[in-house]
């Protein structure tokens, strides 16, 4: 403060005296920094372009339109060998999103359970949870990935045999084979039933809250939601004339050896590479999330629990209504980190032949030699995913943050 005042006073006397003004100095050095950074980035781009040109390596993103010519085992959008490299990259990108999205959900559920279990008053439960956390988070993820993929998933029957679950799901080394829904005319009504159910649910929730505030009684909202989301689509299914058929996986036990087993294209197949990666990612990340949850819960003053008990809340209610909402404030920021880690770790997929963005992109890179372009696509995707996750989590964080009144 003192130097600022003297700077302002001396500003008129000496041409360089303006440098004694902290505001000016702050802005000046930030500008210098930005200019320097810009120059470095520009130099980097120029240098790369120059080197690529000198080494006769083609540059640009035009290669994305060329024919890929290789097969991919799991595709969520239509893809064939005749599709373009761009399409192949899209397939890999969606595969990454699938495994990361499901991984986040599974890891959160498992992490929450283990985290709460570590604080259980039951000695055995707490010890098992502790052992889980300590073992899982101290073994490198890649090893766990190989363990799940090569050791455990290999104990299932071979291609020509199967284990059948509930008569419709079949498991063998080729993956989990299930009936595939085939949508006919009118199937759109079933889809539309969900937003309608959501609309009604919002309305019911609003009225329920009002009634709770008026009478102090909680309407059984959970049951109402479940009913809405299950019954409405079922009703739509019958009203639209049952437009969904099931394509069952076909299994043949006779014929030449190679023809036995599940017929390609029948039913839906979830490949073991996907399961292996999903299992490894969720189980690994869950161990970290469990610690985040435990930390969050322990940060809530025990007085809160005692107070909740004293007004007659049950254990479950105490946890759900008093402890967890307060713990969330502590949990959310580190939880976001775990979500980001999981997404980025999914790039280990290539080790077990799951065609994620890095795996497919690696093939594209190798066939086209467009390393700079492909790496830039990877960077942009992971950066974009991370920023998106951060934004969503920050929004949630703001909503649960302590509001000072």
């Amino acid at each position: 403060m003192k130097s600022g005042r003297s700077g302002a006073v001396s500003a008129g006397r000496h041409p360089l005296a303006i440098f004694n003004n902290p505001t000016f100095r702050g802005v000046f050095f930030q500008l210098v920094f930005v200019a320097g950074l810009g120059w470095i980035v520009w130099d980097l781009i120029q240098n790369t372009a120059h080197n690529l040109q000198r080494a006769n390596i083609a540059a640009g993103y035009g290669f994305l339109e060329r024919t890929a010519g290789f097969g991919i085992i799991q595709t969520m959008v239509s893809y064939s060998e005749a599709s373009s490299y761009g399409r192949a990259v899209l397939v890999g990108l969606l595969n990454t999103l699938l495994v990361a999205g499901l991984g986040v959900v599974l890891a959160t559920i498992l992490g929450l359970i283990v985290g709460i279990a570590r604080l259980s008053s039951n000695w055995l439960v707490a010890q098992i949870a502790t052992a889980y956390v300590e073992i899982i988070r101290n073994i490198p993820l890649l090893l766990q990935l190989f363990f799940w993929y090569f050791a455990v998933l290999r104990s299932v029957p071979g291609m020509r045999e199967k284990w059948t679950l509930f008569g419709v799901f079949h498991l063998n080394i080729g993956g989990l084979h299930a009936p595939r829904p085939v949508f006919g005319d009118g199937a759109i009504w079933i889809l539309l039933a969900f937003p309608i159910a959501l609309g009604i649910a919002v309305f019911v929730s609003h009225r329920g809250k009002q009634r709770f505030e008026r009478t102090g009684r909680r309407p059984p909202l959970g049951w109402i939601y479940a009913g809405l989301f299950v019954l409405l689509p079922i009703a739509a299914f019958f009203l639209a004339g049952r437009p969904i058929a099931l394509d069952m996986p076909q299994f043949s036990e006779t014929g030449p050896l190679l023809k036995r087993g599940f017929k390609a294209g029948s039913g839906i197949t979830v490949i073991p590479e996907f399961f292996g990666l999903l299992l490894a990612l969720s189980i690994y990340t869950a161990a970290y999330i469990a610690e985040v949850v435990r930390g969050g819960i322990e940060a809530v003053n025990h007085g809160q629990t005692e107070a909740a008990y004293s007004i007659g809340l049950k254990r479950g209610q105490t946890l759900r209504l008093v402890v967890i909402p307060q713990a969330l404030r502590v949990i959310i920021p580190p939880l976001s980190n775990q979500y980001l880690n999981l997404t980025k770790n999914s790039s280990l997929a290539v080790a077990v032949a799951y065609p994620d963005l890095v795996s497919v992109g690696g093939t594209v890179l190798n066939q086209t030699g467009q390393a700079v372009e492909m790496v830039s696509i990877w960077m942009l995707f992971y950066l974009g995913m991370s920023i998106l996750t951060s934004l969503v989590m920050n929004y949630w964080n703001k909503r649960v943050a302590l509001v000072e009144r």
Binding site: N56, F70, G71, G158, L257, L258, G265, E273, V350
Partner: protein
């Protein structure tokens, strides 16, 4: 990265200097640092593999030694960089290695858009399939509906797709990053067939628990000319690598071996005289000493010797010379003459 930071710090004034330094040829660089940095396969028996003591062996490895012999007269002046299929081109482009000698297929796209130059063909190969004998098939044409394991980032994936598409057969491909994982998945019966270059199949089969339960199908579905590659735009270095390969093949044709080259050196044959550098000025013409070819054969042997020692019929791999025999003996290995 280092270059970028350096250029950012030193500034524009010195950029010109650093560019001209980078333009100095690989041959001069190699001579200055005293060894050849050679990119090789990390684990392919007979082509490039290191034993427990870190001792490298294989025909691709021996080619690196031949290049070192030509330049330094010493086969040990090589440092090996094990590179997997995905890393190899970037490593060469970014000058991490001087030379890529790693069962790499010479294709047009690699010559045109990757900035590479292939120095010739070290081994004429083709892609094949390995299956379990108990599958009861005898031809790749019976593989319809099969799941096929392979390594990602190679020409193999493309040939596979082409072959199955042109024969209207269904297939599923599982592409792993490393040989070891491909083999493990194949051995665990996750896939019915393993595809890669036939030489690779013979090598990988040896690693299986019971190699005799597996067979390599007769169909060869592609041409895979495997050879050493260098960066484009460096003619002196390209010439040295190219002529090292030619010298190996010419030596076999002239009947020069590791053992007999010293006595043959004094022979009257003008061809041999030119080869060992007694006559003519061929070595200095490519920036080496005139006895460059003599030193290759003296240290490493000729092409046939390298073939026999690493992958030939007397080795575990037991690969017949076939196409890789000299043109004069029914094969297609042929080198321009030294004259």
């Amino acid at each position: 990265m280092k270059r970028f930071i350096a250029s950012a710090v030193i500034g524009a004034a010195l950029t010109a200097a650093s560019v001209s330094a980078a333009l100095a040829g690989t041959l001069d660089d190699v001579k200055a640092k005293g060894f050849v940095q050679c990119g090789v396969n990390p684990s392919l028996i007979g082509f490039g593999i290191a034993d427990e003591k870190g001792e490298w062996s294989g025909i691709d490895v021996d080619f690196c030694r031949a290049v070192a012999s030509a330049i330094f007269g010493d086969a040990t002046k090589v440092k090996f960089s094990p590179l997997n299929a995905k890393e190899r081109f970037t490593a060469l482009q970014s000058k991490e290695v001087d030379l890529l000698s790693r069962n790499t297929t010479w294709t047009m796209s690699r010559d045109s858009s990757l900035g590479l130059m292939f120095a010739g063909v070290m081994y004429y190969d083709g892609q094949g399939f390995m299956v379990r004998k108990d599958l009861g098939i005898s031809s790749a044409l019976e593989l319809s509906g099969a799941t096929v394991c392979t390594q990602t980032g190679t020409t193999t994936e493309l040939n596979l797709a082409d072959y199955f598409r042109s024969h209207n057969m269904e297939y599923k491909v599982l592409a792993f990053e490393k040989n070891e994982e491909v083999l493990k998945a194949y051995e665990d019966k996750r896939c019915e067939a393993y595809t890669t270059d036939a030489s690779g199949l013979y090598a990988e089969r040896l690693k299986l628990t019971s190699p005799d339960d597996h067979m390599i199908l007769p169909e060869i579905i592609s041409k895979e000319p495997l050879g050493p590659a260098v960066r484009q735009g460096d003619d002196p270095w390209f010439t040295v690598v190219k002529w090292t390969l030619f010298a190996l093949i010419n030596a076999e044709e002239l009947g020069l071996t590791k053992q007999n080259i010293d006595e043959k050196k004094t022979a009257d044959s003008p061809e041999i005289k030119r080869f060992v550098g007694v006559e003519g000025d061929f070595g200095t013409g490519i920036g080496l000493t005139n006895d460059w070819a003599y030193k290759i054969v003296k240290n490493v042997g000729n092409y046939g010797e390298i073939f026999d020692a690493n992958i030939g019929p007397s080795t575990k791999l037991g690969i017949a010379r076939g196409l890789n025999n000299l043109w004069s003996k029914g094969g297609i290995q042929y080198a321009p003459p030294i004259r």
